[in-house]
Symmetry: C3
Subunit: 153 residues, 3 copies
């Protein structure tokens, strides 16, 4: 009986350790179970900070290819545009058509609020469906700390 | 009594797991307590590896905006310049004035020692207050492994 | 006897927590033992996504300098080329000579299969010794999730 209690407590201890570990699972080499869990949890934040349509197209290609490779439902993709890169997300952007396609595929398009203020832009200047985050770099930092992958195309 | 001992040992086991986990807290989704801890521990390493004053200004803007958003005392910011980016940190740099302002705001400016050797520069060629790390990329690797966020503007 | 069993089980619990933690060791501040383990486990993925020989040379310099700083046997280095960066790894690349030297030093050169398909290239178009990964960005994501450091020169 004592042992049974102790075993129960042990199970609780192992469980506690397990729960505490959960958040870092995405950084770990995986057991089959974790691999299954992982397969649903790919997360990618792409940074656009250049005023260059070729770079914007590359970022959009990256989003598209990652979705095709991993399965659209298995990966969350965000494109964060800040600094000179913000022009990508303006209504008059040279990639405006592709922005719509990306949104249709559930790619999040996020504009840096700090850059908008500096460029005297409002949400009305952005392409439809673009969301604004307070700060682009702070948002990227937060995503990294949450375990998202980060790529600057 | 036996159970009491076992329980004590269990507590030790849980504690041990907890201690071992501490270093990865910054990667974890947070309990309120951890969130409080986290708020004081934002850390960002910015990479400058381009010979382009527009890129240097972008990196300096990023440092400034992150400090304003998170509170200067809640975030450590380093700018690591290497390769062609090292020119940013020379005494004659086009952003020399902004370097002083960044240093005043406790942004660390770090020059790559390997690049300096290749460019035959000494510390006297750098702006005042700039520190030298043996290798820029190795320093960035180390910071990432310590849990710092990484952004290449 | 019961306590002995419980203690044995406790040891197993602690061990289980320890084993589960192993994969994130590279993110943790280290005990001496872990530091020793770490010294053999530096891992760096370098991204090349620009069609610019200066950028290619910078990436190759980065690989070289990291190996010299950490010891060639203590660090794994991969260069992943995708998008416009894929030209770096073609047989006719302007850095073809340096590619051979990198391979001799055990730097892995990885070409993005998705980009190759878009550019209608086959493995025969690539420099000898280059390997192909299905997708460059997905490969970088995977490496990050495995705890590799990531630098875009």
């Amino acid at each position: 009986m004592k042992l049974a209690l102790a075993t129960q407590a042990l199970a609780a201890a192992v469980l506690a350790a397990g729960v505490a570990l959960t958040p870092v699972v995405s950084h770990a080499q995986s057991t089959p179970q974790q691999a299954a869990q992982k397969s649903e949890r790919h997360r990618l934040v792409l940074q656009v900070s250049e005023n260059d349509p070729a770079n914007w197209n590359l970022a959009l290609n990256n989003a598209e290819n990652v979705q095709q490779a991993l399965g659209k439902d298995n990966v969350q993709v965000e494109i964060v545009a800040y600094g000179p890169g913000l022009n990508m997300l303006k209504g008059e952007s040279k990639v405006a058509g592709r922005l719509n396609a990306a949104l249709d595929n559930n790619v999040s398009l996020l504009a840096c609020g700090t850059t908008m203020r500096k460029m005297k832009l409002t949400k009305a200047d952005l392409a439809g469906g673009v969301n604004v985050v307070p700060g682009g770099v702070v948002h990227i930092m937060q995503r990294q700390s949450e375990g998202w992958n980060y790529v600057k195309p």
